[in-house]
Symmetry: C2
Subunit: 335 residues, 2 copies
């Protein structure tokens, strides 16, 4: 019998399908072969991107020159413009404003054929440090209310360049989904005087069926009501609304856990394309008691179709307990 399950934060229901139950091997395979060709993110091609906003460099190397290990640049084709005022206005019954915002690219490595899963944990930690450095800088701009950090790995997951990179977008409004998380977590807190994410951590540790991996600072689980097969959440044990306020120890810990998780996914799902998103609190409201930053990892295995676009309701053909078991038991291959 299929099950309808409700996400305890957003209230979103999903269908966990059984008739269509899918094992990892029954999802189509994605070719990770790189096409190569000219790449603006490779070391030596620094003049093909806008000038860098941040770089971690070896001693003595110069701005916008080779010698970096990580580099953050403005997106050459930004979805939003950094210059200008919002100019909120109406158009008859409709509402609009200028597309003001920041759109940056984090080039995670100088090497074209490297992936996040295969970097050292120190290199992954540097990616998190770069996210933090940029968020702290962007937060000083009072036009912005929310920053989303995300990664599209592989062309089916929306990556237009194959060189490993992430993106940072600062927005003048709080978008729908983070808004729903905030409002759901606030409602839960008002009712229970507890953080819903802290409660999830407690229950998942006790139950164990959706637990994938944990270390001293983080826990990785298949959520109870995932939209997508093998969707995975990484939650910090320490309650905090803001990703950028984490301790150094936590960035090290999350890097280790993420690396292990990505390598397990690469093993179980054969290097799937995926999206990774950091969910952190908006700025101008007090979310201290009830919001809890976390990371969501979504392997791109299925197609979203009319049913989902029409209802916002998702059909997930792999139950999260099965997904967690596959990932928990996976042995990452030698590097």
């Amino acid at each position: 019998m299929p099950e309808l399950r409700k996400d305890p934060v957003t209230g979103r229901w999903v269908i966990i399908s059984t008739e269509r139950e899918k094992r990892p091997s029954s999802y189509g395979k994605y070719s990770i072969e790189m096409k190569g060709g000219f790449c603006p993110f490779c070391e030596g091609n620094e003049n093909h991107t806008p000038s860098e906003l941040l770089a971690y460099r070896r001693n003595g190397s110069e701005r916008d020159q080779p010698g970096w290990t990580l580099r953050v640049v403005p997106n050459k084709y930004p979805a939003l413009h950094i210059e200008g005022e919002l100019e909120r206005q109406g158009e008859g019954m409709f509402d609009k404003m200028n597309g003001i915002g920041a759109h940056e690219v984090v080039v995670e490595t100088p090497k074209h054929d490297m992936t996040l899963a295969r970097m050292t944990t120190d290199e992954i930690a540097n990616v998190f440090w770069a996210f933090r450095d940029r968020v702290l800088d962007l937060k000083r701009d009072k036009r912005f209310r929310y920053i989303v950090i995300f990664k599209n790995q592989g062309e089916p997951a929306g990556a237009s360049l194959e060189h490993s990179h992430s993106q940072i977008i600062a927005l003048p409004i709080v978008p729908k989904l983070p808004g729903e998380e905030i409002s759901g977590a606030r409602t839960y807190f008002n009712y229970k005087e507890r953080c819903v994410y802290c409660d999830i951590i407690t229950q998942e540790k006790t139950e164990g069926t959706r637990l994938i991996e944990e270390n001293s600072d983080f826990i990785a689980v298949s959520p109870f009501a995932p939209r997508f097969p093998f969707e995975t959440w990484i939650l910090p044990r320490q309650h905090s609304p803001y990703f950028e306020n984490a301790q150094k120890r936590e960035y090290d810990s999350v890097s280790k856990l993420l690396k292990s998780l990505l390598r397990k996914m690469d093993r179980v799902l054969e290097t799937p394309p995926y999206n990774m998103i950091i969910h952190s609190s908006p700025f101008y409201e007090n979310t201290q008691d009830f919001y809890h930053w976390h990371i969501e990892l979504i392997p791109k295995l299925t197609k979203v179709a009319g049913f989902e676009w029409g209802t916002g309701f998702y059909i997930n053909p792999t139950c999260p307990e099965e997904a967690a078991r596959y990932l928990r038991e996976a042995v990452p291959g030698a590097e």
Copy 2:
């Protein structure tokens, strides 16, 4: 300058991107060549589907035998089960219920290589009649609160069988998105004492820039804040919450408009894969004053990625005024 625009019904903001402005020809082309092979939806293969729930047949032909022009059958791999009780229950902090619902397939034509765009308007009207017949039957089951009717055309849009078909899913809960439409439309009505969709029709007819086509009963527009390039809404002029309560004349009219629109899309976007969804009111609340049924058409031209999954915010690289102009001026080819 990119624009941020807000959907007046759901309050969802989108980014209309200008840096990435895309003309129709810059979206990748989709091969519509059919693979052929055995098809359970073809005439003569009736015994490869579950027994029919409804068929429009030529005189004298028998149930589950050839001789039909349209056939509705239960989905062989249903996302939800029709038999059983909901058995709502908790699992610690989580909530779930049995996956009870109906999942049906409307085989729109006996011919394998026919498409909705190329059917006669009478044949298309029969598809709408079949939707209506099934909705009226399913509504008698008091476990159901919402019915979604949708079509996935082409493999990139999620169709797993290439033979032209639609799907009907009856659900025991009102899903997120229709719930947001209802709640947004109710709020608007409480404020203005007018239906938000009626107001959209009035403004779009006056402005004209997003108007694609109209006839005596329907109007087709590019919505002000579309999630996707070339997203198109078909709205009935006559205010009514329920698709299934439309007049015969309206089913004829909408068939003509839909055919014209699909042929224009086929011309402008080179037979794109697409999703079509009928948005109609849930059953057990009085939405008479403020909800307005309509059809949403979404050509599948872009990839949804980390930004969208993480925020519920969409980046649309073609502004709706441009999309409307392309479609309005398109001359559908000879059939």
